[in-house]
Amino acid sequence: MSKPYVAQKIVAEQEPPALEVGVLGWLRKNLFNSWMNTLLTVFVIAALVKVLIPVIQWAVIDALWFSTSEACRESTGACWSVIPHNFRFIIFGFYPQDQHWRPLMAMILMVALLIYSKDKEHWNGRLPWVWIGGLSLMGVLMRGGVFGLVGVESDLWSGLPLTMLLSVFGMFAAYPLGIVLALGRRSTMPAVRSLCVAYIELIRGVPLISLLFMSSVMFPLFLPEGMTINKILRAQIAIILFTAAYIAEVVRGGLQAMDKGQYEAADSIGLNYNLSMRLVILPQALKIVIPPTVGILISAFKDTSLVVIIALYDILKTTQSMLSNPEWMGYSTEAYIFLALLYFIGCYSMSSYSRKLERDLHTGR
């Protein structure tokens, strides 16, 4: 008796349909899965081709990389030569040429500090001290005057070191102020609270440029006669005052996100306000807010470009200054693309780090 419902032999394994797997399958699933998407894909590809080909022609094929400005005038392509020709001035500005290794070292040191702080292992009480040490060392490198280094006035600090200094140092110096403001805003004392709220809302309500204007034309009038503060320092103060308000809001977010039990637990073991903040609340709250803090660092890094409006020679201003030289005046597009790339590299590495961190912290809990 045969068994009609049972297969007699094993059916040979078959390839899945060509349209479901492999390149074709991927294409179908991701690009042509409906008539609407097909239309969109075709349209986008056509537009990309139309735009990219002339761009590549201009930026790569016809481009000149290390020529003189005369050669550039003859050519139809991009004149990237403007960058290597003026590289040192763009990056270091007025810093004395023979001392350029010092700002270079300082920048490397700063990147090293940032990389050091990336690691979660290093988030402990030592971190602020490492930063204070690192920043002081950078100050010594830039300023000179000791250990046989030639003194270089801060007026001459310009270019990329100035950009980094204004943003990173500004951020670092603004942090304590931001924490104080955040604690003040959550305080039960009405006078303190309203002062902090007023400060935070005032600063967040006005554009940075107005504070920079203030630093450049009003600060000098605030000081007693005969006393002046260096222009860069004034801008730095404006940036610190500005950043602190944003940090305060971020820290406040962290404080609010803390479990109420933590506050109560700290109270119940008899810690006073200072101790409970220092030992229990802030260490936890500050860890929560590290990703948004990186976000503030990114905006600070980008926002320092506004100091060109008050004629500080950050990297955008050194580039513009170089571009007012008749020889290179026509090549601003190339120079600005180079700058955009620099900023992009800086911001992108920070933002992808902060995203990774956010994921890690999320899964950690």
Binding site: N30, L31, N37, A191, L202, P207, I309, Y336, A340
Partner: protein, 394 residues
């Protein structure tokens, strides 16, 4: 005896151990420090101003400004006062911010939805857009776009005629507008009436739906009111068709309206930059609504458009609105960078004023007050709106 002593000790808690008293003292000290520092700065400023013989006060408002402004929404000439000049700047700031915000929300939503598209190319393109534009300083972008605008378009005598009455050249985009006619005033009035009527219509429809469950096409109805009423008025006036078309006269085009390269570059730069942030917000907002909501809505038989309008959007908006507000404010504040590309916004005009009068303190104070007013009123409005939309917990 000892118990008596205890009571005495309890009654006489030293004031530094009493949290309430300590708080008062602490606050008094803080206030005192703030006041002293404030007074010190004020005193120095006063002394400096006096010593250097710098004029103070807002008397310059009434003086003739003697400078021209490139573009203005109201009539202005160099013979007008500083106050008029500042008004022009203020209106220009409002103009670019308002149009910018509308366009940003639109573009940001499109890119945000594009980021979630099932089409790989679209999604990657949106991601690329978001990543690149977020990471380049907006000032650099503005300068870049401005250069593109004046470098790639021809001079007015070789203007590209996009379509009849519309020209594109390095002086900007020039459009013909209907020539002046009394019908237009009446039409504006009709639009206002239409908007008010549409609002009442929406309320009525909502009530009716609550009472009877019957749906009313509010959107189409409102659209009909807002567009139909002015159209009727226009027809009533005999449909005036005469156009004020830009004509090349001497150096420039005359007539019509002009969108200047400065305005266009500022608008484009701000919109592209801010939209990158808004796109992320929109994406996060949509993702925050759980899939179950969509499935549930579909299960009760709502149409796809209704699913979006009645279920997804109201919930996503709740997540979107607070960060969106801050982006809108950012755009407004960033519009102050106009000074770098020559668009006469409030900061640019104030800066010229400071330059001419030498009154920096008044100028900077004006800038701060104006932006603060814009910021605070926007946040109040958005908070109110947000509260209205917030989840009513029962």
């Amino acid at each position: 005896m000892s118990s008596n002593n205890d009571v005495a000790v309890q009654q006489a808690v030293p004031f530094w151990r009493d949290p309430d008293k300590r708080a008062i003292i602490f606050q008094a000290v803080v206030l005192l420090i703030v006041l002293v520092v404030g007074y010190y700065l004020f005193y120095n400023t006063q002394a400096n101003l006096e010593r250097q013989n710098i004029t103070t006060g807002f008397d310059f408002f009434e003086k003739e400004s003697s400078f021209e402004i490139g573009e203005s929404m109201v009539a202005y000439s160099a013979a007008d006062t500083y106050l008029d000049a500042l008004k022009v700047g203020f209106l220009n700031t409002l103009k670019v911010s308002f149009i910018g915000i509308v366009l940003t929300i639109f573009l940001g939503t499109v890119v945000g939805i594009g980021r979630l598209s099932s089409n790989w190319l679209i999604s990657k393109l949106a991601a690329f857009y978001i990543e690149v534009l977020q990471d380049i300083p907006v000032l650099l972008q503005l300068i870049f776009w401005y250069a593109i605008f004046y470098e790639s378009f021809p001079p007015p005598r070789q203007a590209i005629s996009v379509m009849p009455g519309v020209f594109l050249c390095n002086r900007g985009l020039l459009c013909g507008v209907p020539a002046e006619h009394p019908a237009h005033t009446a039409m504006i009035f009709a639009v206002v009436v239409g908007v008010v009527a549409a609002w009442f219509l929406a309320r009525w429809a909502h009530k009716r739906q609550d009472a009877t469950g019957k749906d009313f096409p509010v959107f189409l109805g409102s659209l009909g009111l807002i567009i139909g009423l002015p159209l009727l008025v226009w027809l009533g006036y005999g449909a005036p068709l005469e156009m004020d078309v830009p004509v090349l006269k001497g150096f420039n085009f005359k007539g019509g309206i002009v969108i200047s390269p400065e305005f266009a570059a500022l608008l484009l730069g701000l919109v592209l930059y801010t939209a990158a942030f808004v796109a992320e917000i929109v994406r996060a907002g949509i993702q925050a609504v759980s899939l179950g909501q969509r499935e549930a809505a579909m299960a009760v038989g709502l149409r796809p458009a209704q699913v979006t309008n009645l279920v997804i959007l109201p919930q996503a908006l709740r997540v979107i609105i607070p960060p969106l507000t801050s982006q809108m404010l950012n755009l407004t504040k960033n519009s102050s960078l106009a000074v770098a590309i020559g668009y006469p916004d409030f900061v640019a005009v104030t800066s010229t004023t400071i330059n001419q009068t030498g009154q920096a303190i008044e100028g900077v104070a004006l800038i701060m007050i104006v932006y603060l007013t814009i910021s605070l009123s926007t946040s109040f409005f958005m908070n109110w709106y947000n509260k209205k939309k917030a989840l009513v917990e029962r």
